[in-house]
Symmetry: C2
Subunit: 311 residues, 2 copies
């Protein structure tokens, strides 16, 4: 029997990743490019670039709130250009194959389930820890058909407004954006730190990598910022554990690079907060596919939906 | 064919309810008594009282964290006497029929799905609003096999310790206990209120009903307390909506008596906080079985599990 292939696209605020993936979950070819303002054009160009004669469909993982039934991108704070667009219809028109769409963290969860750190678990939650925080839930081996906007769970309900309209969202206290905002505020107040040198006064150029690197060099401010964000992530982990008691929480995204400070602090905080019995039965681990999870998950969405149609 | 019956028991910190229920969900006989310190004995006495020759099993809905696989009550802040006990094994020994156990809010959700306000929805969340706050999740017509401890989701992560060990739990800011604690604190500070008369200085005797009744009489303190608890409940509703986007949230428990102040405020707050698209697709409604939901759900647990075994 001939091998079948699908294209998986994973697009967030920073990067667009596209891959040609076999039904067995093998990535045959992949590309990555920075997300531009012309989001739709970037997607179609990427599809052209890795297209293959025999693709059975295209799967899209998009950062934002997605109506998977209609194919519409409802809200996307990092991809404004495609907000309100029916991405499924528009891409179908051009490539004339079945097209499916999901939230990017949801398809990353699906990817980890198919070919990554989630293979051994029937029930797990995946969190993407980057500029923002996203979530995807696998329940009894399948993707739970819910938005899982875990980053927009309020954990400090009387504090600052989030860009989503809610107040005190987890994302505002535990993401890369939160760390950088926090660092800049401290530096502007004149707080002493190695970070002052690293960006030579252009605080807006600070990255989470700078903060982590300064923390490793013993910078107290940087360590405090990472620990503080970690503590807040721990509140989110405890909430997930108390509500869903997953077998595992799989962490992915750029911030897991700071595992030994940020994530360790989060695990410690979650252990203090969650019900003991539930905390003791969860494994908090790293993603294994990392950046490829979205591509694999998006392609699998295609195989999954097509096999459902033929049942 | 002969009708089959199961006994459903619903036990919380305040009351024990037991019912003899037919496979069609009809309650043939039921009793209610206050929960005593001798929890286990109260349960067995209630079973004796409504027993029927032909019962196929006993279902238990217990306030607390339950290990449904082993039958053990892991944590129950309102039923300390049975904490750590394997309730399933102990009751099986006496009555010699299949026994199943679940968290009380989970079985109330199941009850509403079978014979109440949840019949028309494939996906909903039930919240029990009483002394504490519990939750149950129905997903694609079935009970989601998770603790759903929504009352122990932290919404004010830097505030007061909850008896569960977490900090700033929803339950501490939106439950009946929260309202009464808040009222007593205000009265002790000498705040003017109709409540001062209603309990003649014995503030510890205050009930949520007193607060609601004073609020209806125009008492400002009481109105503020109800609105404040409602706002906090609204944070919880928004978190549920952003994460699970249910078709409905069904509210039950004593506090829904204060619907027009407390729940209305919660709905208003949730509408401000949740993603608009998701808020617009959820119905926030009252339970229809109310106190019987637990009995029906617990009995249904038996029919459900037995039919699974014979499949």
């Amino acid at each position: 029997m001939m091998k079948r292939y699908a294209i998986g696209i994973d697009i967030g605020g920073t990067n667009l990743r596209a891959g040609l993936v076999s039904e067995e979950g093998e990535i045959v070819r992949k590309i990555k490019k920075p997300t531009t303002e012309k989001v739709f054009e970037s997607i179609t160009e990427a599809i052209e670039e890795i297209r293959h004669d025999e693709i059975v469909g295209i799967g899209l993982g998009v950062a934002g709130l997605i109506d998977r039934e209609t194919g519409r991108v409802l809200v996307s704070s990092s991809l404004h250009a495609i907000e309100g667009m029916n991405l499924v219809d528009e891409i179908k028109k051009i490539f004339n194959v079945p097209v499916f769409i999901e939230n990017d963290a949801n398809i990353a969860a699906l990817g980890e389930k198919i070919g990554g750190a989630g293979r051994g678990f029937r029930n797990f939650v995946l969190l993407t820890l980057g500029t923002g925080i996203g979530g995807g839930i696998i329940y009894q081996d399948k993707l739970l058909n819910v938005p899982a906007e875990i980053g927009h769970m309020s954990i400090k309900s009387d504090t600052e407004k989030c860009q989503c309209g809610n107040i005190g969202c987890l994302e505002n206290y535990a993401s890369a954006r939160a760390m950088v905002t926090n660092a800049v505020a401290m530096l502007e107040k004149g707080k002493e730190s190695l970070l002052t040198e690293c960006c030579k006064g252009s605080f807006y150029k600070l990255t989470p990598e700078d903060i982590y690197s300064a923390a490793l060099d013993g910078d107290n401010l940087s360590r405090d910022i990472l620990r503080d964000a970690g503590k807040n992530l721990g509140v989110g982990l405890a909430n997930i554990i108390n509500m869903l008691s997953p077998e595992a929480i799989i962490l992915t995204g750029g911030l897991i690079g700071a595992w030994n400070i940020y994530v360790q602090e989060a695990i410690k905080e979650a252990s203090r907060r969650a019900f003991k019995h539930l905390f003791n039965s969860v494994k908090i681990i790293r993603s294994s596919l990392v950046d490829d999870a979205g591509i694999v998950g998006a392609a699998y969405l295609v195989f999954n939906e097509l096999s459902r149609d033929t049942c």
